[in-house]
């Protein structure tokens, strides 16, 4: 559950949206957000978080410290 998108950094390029295996990313009022309840940190799908890997902006997709890490 714990990835989030830092809205000020996001360019709305939508690259992450198509890569997420859980359809956890969507556009809302012009910025992209991650639905925490759907995000599995890509566990069970890929070795690396797809949104982090594809995002062109450093430190734009980050761990959401307020939430517990995903446990399968």
């Amino acid at each position: 559950m714990p990835y989030k998108i830092v809205a000020e950094e996001c360019t709305n390029c939508a690259a992450c949206e198509t890569e997420c295996p859980n359809d956890a990313i969507l556009e809302k009022k012009g910025t992209f957000i991650i639905l925490a309840e759907k995000c599995t940190e890509c566990v069970g799908h890929y070795d690396d978080a797809q949104c982090v890997e594809v995002c062109p902006i450093p430190d734009c997709v980050v761990i959401d410290e307020r939430l517990p890490r995903y446990a399968a």
Partner: protein, 504 residues
């Protein structure tokens, strides 16, 4: 600086006019702007304004920005803004949905019958957004099947979509290829995203290079035209681009367009921020000459801003902003467009025939004379622009073979709001000071005198007539005047080039 387009096949006979090998130089001296293209390729590209200067007079193209995502990172791109490779850096293009994009295309096509080509290019990569790209193509095809489609890509995803590209009848693909050697590539691309993984360094560059070559080969084997763009980065890939030229030539790409790196620090790109400079005009030209072997071709790429709309230097994109398009009622009239295109076809034949007629007797007179002249035009192949309103001058070379387009020079309008400015006139003169004459629809008395003092004859008598025919007619008279001593050939300047992207 203008990019020059280099045809990268040689020794193909051009149009049965006794073309010889030797760097592919064609001996037809054709005014049709076809450079060294083979008849089949010419047939495909003749109405494409990006590939032929002559087509630029009659036809327009537009890009729609529906594909903002990208699957690689280039050091010359700041993704917070734009794909600097495909458009003017720092200018944020509007992002469109496929539905809005298709509507925009129809709105523009209804208003501007000259529109023949729609492309999907940066910001982003057309094939990193396959759903949006092909959805847009489909919508356009459904309502305007006469419009040609093209796309630009970095090539990483290309092999996966070659079949789809063919199914959609896309007839031109541009691939940006900056290297074939991963050692060079790792200094251009910090990473790629491929097979659900971020790759960096040499591995990333190796995958990218292999995918680009594979995609290029697949496209050309299906007969789809491929142009290759390369960004010249001094000290990184400048010498290496000769090898790139060889590699893409041997795989069947039909044009190679080498563009200078644009890297101002304020664009915030990696290169901009680390002080990587772009090439000088001389360096660019030296490299182009090394790749080219022959100068006889298309040199009209204006590095257009991606979202520009209109013909030659005109930008009507403000009439077609997202908000305005969303409101518009669009009436698409295929018949009117067909009629316009038939008219253009006829005009072009007339122009070519007129030039050929005019050529008779020239060869004996001209000998080895070689004269540059400038033309003010707003398109249609005619001398139809007022000197003071010209945003660019087209430069033609006059020789025994006739008139040949060799480039354009951008200038500020001399006449801003009705009065001329002395300073602008000076820069206009320095932009065309290598020319013996400037052809205009009209010119004021004062600028005419100043031009004369600078050794440039202002010619109004061919106003609204065909460019090439008029130039040849004038040339004959000029040669006669030289012989009789009424005119003298003078030492001329270099003609200064202006930096930056052009708007249309």
């Amino acid at each position: 600086m203008q990019a020059r387009i280099i045809p990268i096949f040689e020794n193909k006979p051009a149009g049965g006019c006794g073309a010889t090998g030797g760097g592919g130089k064609s001996s037809c001296g054709s005014a049709a702007g076809r450079g060294d293209l083979s008849p089949e390729v010419w047939e495909k590209v003749k109405n494409h304004p990006c590939y032929s200067e002559q087509a630029h007079h009659h036809f327009a193209r537009m890009h729609v920005a529906v594909a903002p995502a990208c699957n690689i990172q280039c050091h010359y791109c700041n993704r917070k803004y734009d794909c600097s490779n495909e458009s003017r850096p720092g200018v944020v293009s509007e992002k469109l949905t496929p539905e809005l994009a298709a509507k925009k295309v129809l709105a523009v096509a209804a208003e501007i019958p000259q529109l023949t080509v729609v492309g999907i290019a940066g910001p982003g990569d057309a094939l990193a957004n396959p759903e949006k790209t092909f959805k847009t193509f489909q919508l356009i095809q459904n309502s305007a099947p006469d419009i040609k489609l093209c796309l630009s890509t970095n090539g990483l995803a290309l092999p996966d979509y070659v079949q789809t590209i063919q199914d959609f009848n896309v007839d031109h693909v541009t691939i940006t290829i900056n290297m074939v050697d991963p050692e060079v590539g790792e200094r251009i691309y910090p990473w790629i995203f491929y097979k659900h993984k971020r790759w960096t360094g040499r591995d990333a560059a190796k995958i990218l290079a292999e995918r680009q070559m594979e995609g290029l080969e697949m496209l050309t084997s299906k007969g789809i035209l491929v142009k290759v763009n390369s960004v010249m980065v001094p000290g990184v890939n400048d010498d290496h681009l000769v090898a790139v030229n060889q590699a893409v030539k041997s795989r069947g790409a039909f044009l190679h367009n080498i563009m200078p790196l644009i890297s101002e620090p304020e664009h915030g790109t990696h290169y901009g921020l680390t002080g990587q400079r772009g090439p000088s005009a001389q360096e660019l030209k030296a490299l182009q000459d090394k790749c080219e072997g022959d100068m006889n071709l298309m040199r009209h790429c204006r590095q257009c801003r991606a979202d520009a709309v209109g013909l030659l230097g005109e930008d009507r994109s403000q009439e077609f902003t997202t908000d305005k398009v969303a409101e518009m009622k669009v009436h698409y009239d295929a018949e009117a467009r067909k009629a316009y295109q038939a008219f253009v076809e006829k005009e072009r034949e007339d122009q070519e025939a007129a030039m050929k007629r005019e050529l008779s007797g020239l060869a004996e007179d001209a000998g080895h004379a070689n004269v540059l002249v400038a033309v003010a035009t707003k398109g249609s192949g005619r001398i139809n622009e007022h000197f003071g309103h010209a945003g660019e001058f087209q430069v033609f070379e006059l020789t025994a073979a006739g008139a040949k387009f060799v480039g354009h020079r951008r200038v500020d309008h001399y006449c801003q709001g009705g009065y001329g400015e002395e300073e602008t006139l000076e820069t206009v003169i320095s932009a065309i000071n290598d020319c013996a004459a400037v052809f205009v629809a009209k010119i004021g008395l004062c600028p005419k005198k100043d031009l004369e003092q600078a050794g440039i004859e202002a010619v109004e008598e061919y106003a609204h007539q065909y460019i090439e025919q008029s130039l040849v007619a004038w040339f004959k008279g000029y040669l006669a005047r030289l012989r009789s001593g009424d005119a003298v050939a003078v030492e001329r300047g270099q003609g200064s080039l202006r930096q930056g992207a052009f708007v249309a």
